[in-house]
């Protein structure tokens, strides 16, 4: 939408900007385009306005700059050129004018002076002639002439500039003075007197009067008889200095005659003479007689114009140029050059025209004038030409007109332009060029500078815009993250409410009496899952709490030892399969009760231990704990310098808090509890020791793949530890694995209980033999025991145990009949001896079940072997959590009643010791302190002392499964039924009041094999001796009991695949009307090795049985005949006679024979009413359709095996 507008704008701006700039516009436009492109890629609208403003600013500045520079240039140009030129012109004009004026003035002066002389001469001549107006004789004539000569000489001598004065008398007599400037001679020229008589003159005179024209030169000239004489004179005195010579008349001098004064008026004209090389100015004036009627003589004065020329030359020398003077016709009078002014023709020198001057410039100038003006000279003959092109050069030409009446003259001055304006002209172009280029450069540079400078501005604006957008984005991100965590918290909270409701309702449901076993199992499962879900929600909430830092630790008293023990127990279960042993090693001085947040503390350790388990494939995981009281200096050698830090830190804290803390610490002792989690796993790279505690940091990213995990655990741990006033870090350890050390600041209540005195055991003379697999645990335990005065022996293997036993007892009794296969090492032997020296010792042997060879049947032999010592020794057995009950029963049978689940730690050991001692003194069986055992009061079954750990809320769902399974498994031991009731199993915990004992039905949970074992054991408990061991009859039992049903099922299928037909030899009657089902079940059962008879309804089923019965009509005494079928699968819904009826009938008929064929109902219904119905009619079990065949098989096995007896 802005694109076309922008394009137009750009174009306009491009034009505008290129107006001022010559070279830049294109580049700039491209630059702008690039910038534009970039801008477009960002959000266009936001940056657009800023971009435009920058652009506009740039443009404006550039335009202003252009205008400024343009103005400057123009002004400079104007001022430098125009004024200069003008002023120069003016000056030049003045100069030229002046230059011209001077020669003209001189000329005028000359003219004036000549005319004065002439007038004077005339006047004098008139006077003289009038005095001698009528000469009577020759003497008077001569006197006249002499007088005339004198006065003429006077005048002539006074004016040195004159060239000649001539007098031409009417009678022909001529007198002249002549000066030759070149040779500086003065001559007097006169004509011969002889020819001229007075007498004749009158006649002539009269003739002349009659015709004025009659007196002309011709007369004189024609008069060949005239003889002129010339005599040189002294220039100063006028004396004759030489001989008079005869000269031809009119030769040397031009005597003015009457022809020059035709009107009796003075005349001027320019003349030439042989003797001069320049024109002469001659004036002729008539001399009138007394009456002014006739001309008696003509006076001629001739001046050379030489001085004018001289002046001109001087002027030109100074100012240069050319000056010349011409007559109006154009004849050169004087020039400033040395070129000749006269043409030398054959007839003599002639005047030269200016246009013909030999001087080039003058000639060209005159020609130019003639060309330009022709004969139409402007009024006044004044011409000022400033730039006349004469032969390539420019000249000033000025002409001036001297309008003299007698001789108008024109003066012309030609000055080459370059003498005046030369530099100016020259400079003008240069200046222009320089100016323009300079201005262009400046403009360009200016534009570039502007661009560069404003670049910064635009960049800054861009950056600012970006910053704003980033800040905005960050704010939004933070806000969204806040929303998310709030949402998370809200949702978690909201989700917890219904979850709690669900759990609560499930609890109520569990207490319902009318649930079938299957339903109960389902509900329990649901409850487990719900609890797990709730736990998950709590974890999520915790996570967000921890992350947001809003965690609040509660303050409550809890037993730290117990919590940690429970934790270790739980984790040891996970380790069973990984041959990693978990060991708990808490020092004795750890207070029993501490104040703090138990859940968080346990969470911390749970995280650490689970990490260790994840990364440890073999070896051990040790959780060590010891305490340090800041008020008491510790003497343990364990402390290293960096332990002092928390001490100081704590002391500093205490000091800071001052009295408050002191009071608090008086009330509650604050203890520093140190813990270490030591594992032998893959370890953490030292460079990562700090960073593993960061959120989402895994030491090795590949672990996520192999081990799972989010990387949050350690972060949470550190936060929690810090919140509890402690620190955690990874420390170096010898050997492989990781060692995490942390300390917590917990307060113990002032009334803390004392530790139980273990010293008592030493008094009782107890000796312990530890026969455990786990070396670390064994080591720690033995160390602890020894520290507390209980001598300990260790054995890690069965053989070692036997050795020790031999040594201990057989050597004692000195029965050398036994083979000593094995011999003990020396230190062990000495120990043994020292033990033997004890007075009345109580021997306790803690044996790990793993020492027995459970894979084969040797373990029984081993047990038998141990029986030998049962009198002298008390055995305590360490069992796995998944130890099968058959083993447990066997052990119990052999009289070992002390059974403890692994791992072994202090508390358990204490229990064992207590139990042993108590048992020693009290022969009664006692209940375990935990009271998880059942209430089987009615039975004479043994109460097995199983010291089990308490349940924990923090367990994972899987683990709780295990423990609950285990719990329920062990719980069920207690309930036993004897007597005449049909042998059915109940698998409900008698301790729970909500359960009622059901008689008929078998619970088909995933504990089927365990159930089977329990059943077997229960038989044992009932004291019925059985020929066959319960151990080996059931191969499924031997399969490892894992926590997932899938594995169990797999084991079944694998068994099938292995060709072991589990239903081998069983005869099964199948009553099912649905042919499909019939077929399927038949094939299935036959696959399993059973023999199947299928019938289509209840009636046939009854008949089938009765047939057999009928056939086998034996005496009643024989009761041990086997029934025809081992099991009946009875569909409930059948035509003719349904399952219930059939069962009833069958049961009835069984009364006679005393058999009890197990009947399994196949029903589509699974309601409790159906269950009751089945119960009523006498069925043993039921399966719901669609049938889970594996379940069916297991049920069959269950029912058939137990019934065989």
């Amino acid at each position: 939408m802005a694109t076309p507008l922008r394009k137009v704008f750009d174009r306009i701006s491009g034009f505008a900007s290129s107006w001022g700039r010559k070279t830049a516009p294109r580049g700039r436009r491209i630059f702008h385009r690039d910038v534009e492109q970039e801008e477009f890629q960002y959000s266009s609208t936001r940056c657009l306005s800023s971009y435009y403003s920058v652009f506009v600013a740039r443009l404006a500045i550039m335009v202003m700059l252009a205008i400024l520079i343009g103005l400057l240039t123009i002004l400079t140009w104007h001022f430098t050129r125009v004024y200069t030129t003008k002023s120069l012109n003016t000056l030049a004009y003045g100069l030229r004018y002046e230059l011209l004026q001077r020669p003209i003035l001189r000329m005028w002066n000359i003219l004036n002076s000549t005319s004065e002389i002439t007038t004077a001469q005339v006047k004098l001549s008139e006077y003289v002639i009038r005095r001698y107006s009528k000469p009577t004789n020759q003497a008077e004539q001569v006197e006249l002439y002499q007088m005339m000569k004198d006065i003429t000489w006077a005048l002539f001598a006074s004016r040195k500039a004159l060239n000649a004065i001539t007098i031409n008398y009417k009678n022909g007599f001529v007198q002249a003075f002549h000066r030759d400037h070149r040779s500086n001679n003065t001559f007097y020229i006169y004509s011969d007197l002889a020819n001229y008589s007075i007498s004749s003159s009158e006649s002539y005179g009269n003739k002349m009067l009659e015709s004025r024209q009659g007196w002309n030169d011709q007369f004189i000239r024609g008069n060949v008889s005239a003889i002129w004489y010339r005599e040189p004179l002294d220039p100063v005195s006028g004396e004759k200095i030489g001989k008079a010579m005869q000269i031809p008349p009119d030769d040397l001098i031009n005597i003015a005659g009457p022809s020059q004064v035709p009107d009796g008026v003075a005349s001027w004209h320019v003349a030439v003479s042989k003797f001069t090389d320049s024109p002469l100015l001659s004036a002729a004036l008539p001399v009138w007689d007394a009456s002014n009627t006739s001309i008696v003589a003509v006076v001629g004065v001739t001046t050379a114009l030489y001085s004018v020329g001289q002046l001109m030359k001087e002027l030109v020398e100074v100012h240069s140029g050319y000056i010349y003077l011409t007559s109006q016709e154009g004849y050169l009078l004087a020039t400033s050059t040395n070129a000749p002014l006269l043409n030398n023709t054959a007839k003599g020198p002639k005047l030269m025209m200016a246009v013909n001057s030999e001087d080039r410039v003058i000639r060209m100038g005159a020609q130019w004038l003639q060309n330009a003006y022709g004969n139409n000279l402007p009024p006044g003959h004044v011409v000022h030409v400033e730039k006349a092109n004469l032969g390539g050069q420019h000249f000033y030409i000025d002409s001036f007109f001297l309008n003299l009446k007698r001789l108008p003259m024109v003066g012309v001055i030609i000055i080459p332009r370059k003498y005046i304006m030369g530099k100016v002209d020259e400079r003008a172009l240069k200046t222009l060029v320089i100016l323009i280029s300079a201005s262009v450069c400046i403009l360009v540079i200016g534009c570039v500078c502007i661009l560069i400078l404003t670049n910064g501005v635009s960049k800054e604006m861009k950056l600012r815009a970006e910053l704003i957008s980033h800040l905005d984005a960050r704010r939004r991100a933070e806000a969204s993250s806040n929303y998310k965590s709030q949402f998370l918290a809200n949702m978690s909270h909201e989700l917890r409410t219904p979850m709690a409701a669900v759990i609560g309702l499930l609890d109520i449901l569990i207490c319902d009496d009318c649930l079938t076993n299957e339903q109960y199992a389902m509900v329990t499962q649901i409850r487990k899952c719900s609890t797990a879900l709730l736990r998950l929600l709590n974890n999520i909430l915790d996570l967000s709490k921890v992350e947001s830092g809003k965690l609040v630790l509660e303050e409550a008293e809890f037993d730290l030892g117990r919590e940690l023990e429970g934790l270790v127990d739980m984790f040891s279960v996970q380790c069973i399969n990984h041959n990693v042993e978990t060991v708990l090693d808490l020092s004795d001085d750890i207070p029993k009760l501490v104040r703090g947040d138990s859940a968080r503390v346990v969470q911390v350790f749970a995280n650490l231990i689970s990490n260790s388990i994840k990364f440890t494939t073999s070896g051990h995981i040790i959780l060590r704990g010891w305490c340090e009281n800041p008020n008491v200096s510790s003497d343990s050698a364990k402390f290293s310098p960096d332990h002092k830090k928390p001490l100081y830190a704590l002391k500093a804290k205490l000091k800071n808090h001052g009295n408050h803390m002191k009071k608090a610490s008086k009330r509650d002792n604050k203890m520093i509890l140190w813990f270490e989690v030591d594992d032998t796993g893959c370890g953490i790279d030292p460079s990562k020791w700090e960073s593993v505690f960061e959120s989402f940091e895994q030491a090795d990213p590949s672990t996520t793949r192999t081990h799972g995990g989010t990387g949050l655990g350690l972060c949470i741990v550190r936060t929690l530890v810090n919140k509890m006033g402690g620190e955690i870090k990874v420390v170096r350890k010898n050997g492989p694995g990781t060692l995490m050390r942390l300390f917590l600041l917990l307060s113990t209540p002032a009334d803390g209980t004392e530790q139980q005195g273990q010293m008592e055991f030493a008094k009782h003379g107890v000796a312990v033999i530890l026969a455990l697999h786990g070396s670390m645990g064994r080591l720690i335990m033995s160390r602890w025991l020894s520290r507390n005065g209980v001598p300990t022996l260790e054995a890690s293997e069965w053989n070692e145990l036997t050795q020790i036993l031999h040594e201990l007892f057989h050597a004692r009794t000195r029965n050398s009949g036994f083979e000593t296969h094995y011999s003990l090492g020396e230190p062990l032997r000495s120990k043994v001896h020292s033990i033997q020296d004890m007075r009345n010792p109580v021997y306790i042997i803690v044996v790990d079940l793993g020492l027995l060879d459970l894979s084969t049947d040797i373990w029984k032999e081993q047990l038998n072997f141990l029986d030998k010592f049962s009198g002298q020794v008390k055995f305590a057995w360490m069992l796995n959590h998944d130890t099968s009950n058959s083993i447990k029963m066997e052990l119990r049978r052999k009289g070992h009643i002390l059974m403890v689940n692994k791992p072994l730690y202090k508390a358990k050991m204490l229990h064992i010791l207590e139990a042993v001692l108590k048992e020693r003194y009290v022969e009664l069986q006692k209940r375990s302190p935990n009271g998880t055992k059942g209430t089987a009061k009615e039975g004479d079954s043994h109460e097995c002392l199983e010291i089990d750990s308490t349940q924990f809320e923090t367990c994972s769902s899987d683990d709780s499964d295990i423990s609950e399974i285990g719990g329920s498994g062990t719980d069920s031991v207690s309930s036993a039924h004897t007597g005449d009731q049909p042998r059915v199993l109940t698998l409900k915990s008698g301790a729970s009041n909500c359960q009622t004992l059901k008689n008929c039905l078998v619970e088909l949970t995933n504990l089927d094999s365990e159930v089977h074992n329990l059943r077997a054991d229960e038989d044992q408990c009932n004291g019925r001796p059985r020929g066959n061991d319960c151990g080996n009859s059931n191969s499924p039992e031997q399969t490892s009991i894992s926590s997932s049903t899938k594995e169990r099922e797999k084991s079944y299928t694998s068994k099938a695949a292995n060709g072991q037909k589990s239903l081998q030899g069983l005869r099964i009657l199948l009553a099912e009307d649905t042919p499909v089902l019939q077929r399927v079940a038949t094939i299935m059962l036959e696959k399993m090795g059973a023999t199947v008879i299928a019938v289509g309804d209840g009636l046939q089923a009854v008949d089938a049985l009765n047939c057999v019965l009928g056939e086998e009509d034996r005496p009643q005494t024989e009761i041990c005949d086997s029934p025809p079928y081992d099991l009946i699968l009875m569909d409930c819904q059948m035509p003719k006679m349904d399952g219930y009826e059939a069962t009833k009938a069958i049961r009835k008929s069984e009364e006679a024979t005393g058999w009890h064929i197990p009947i399994v109902a196949l029903t589509a219904h699974a309601m409790s009413s159906d269950e009751a119905k089945c119960l009523e009619v006498g069925m043993d079990a039921y399966l719901t359709k669609p049938i889970d065949y594996k379940l069916m098989v297991s049920t069959i096995l269950l029912l058939t095996k137990t019934s065989s007896a």
């Binding site: 649905t1074 499909v1076 589509a1164």
Partner: protein, 149 residues
Amino acid sequence: MDVVQLQRQLVDYKASLYNEAILDEQFTQLQELQDENNPDFVVEVVSLFFEDSERLLNELTKALEQQNIDFKRVDAHVHQLKGSSSSIGAQRVQKVCIAFRNCCEEQNVQGCLICLQQVKNEYSLVKTKLETMFKLEQQILAAGGSIPV
């Protein structure tokens, strides 16, 4: 087409049957029961199912066409059908049977008729699918391959 392609086709087809809930894990269990001792177990059972179902459906149709519908009989038939369909894993048929039974309990004639129609549809669907599957298996066997599990 070659054996591998056929096998892949079969696998995909089976998967689709499970995805569309036409069959469920009961059928898987059936397949697991088949071995060299009972090589045609599944085919046998399924054929049995077809026969039985068709018989039942005919019975049902007849029963529902009566003036006075004997709901007990209908219920019995549906029950049978439900049982057999559930045992071979014909999930959808089974589901419809459940609904059918509810209608029978309520003595809702219209509902029963609708359900019958649905059952028939589902049945024919599962029948077609299974027959196609068996054909594929035959093809594979004919081409010399083995049936992938």
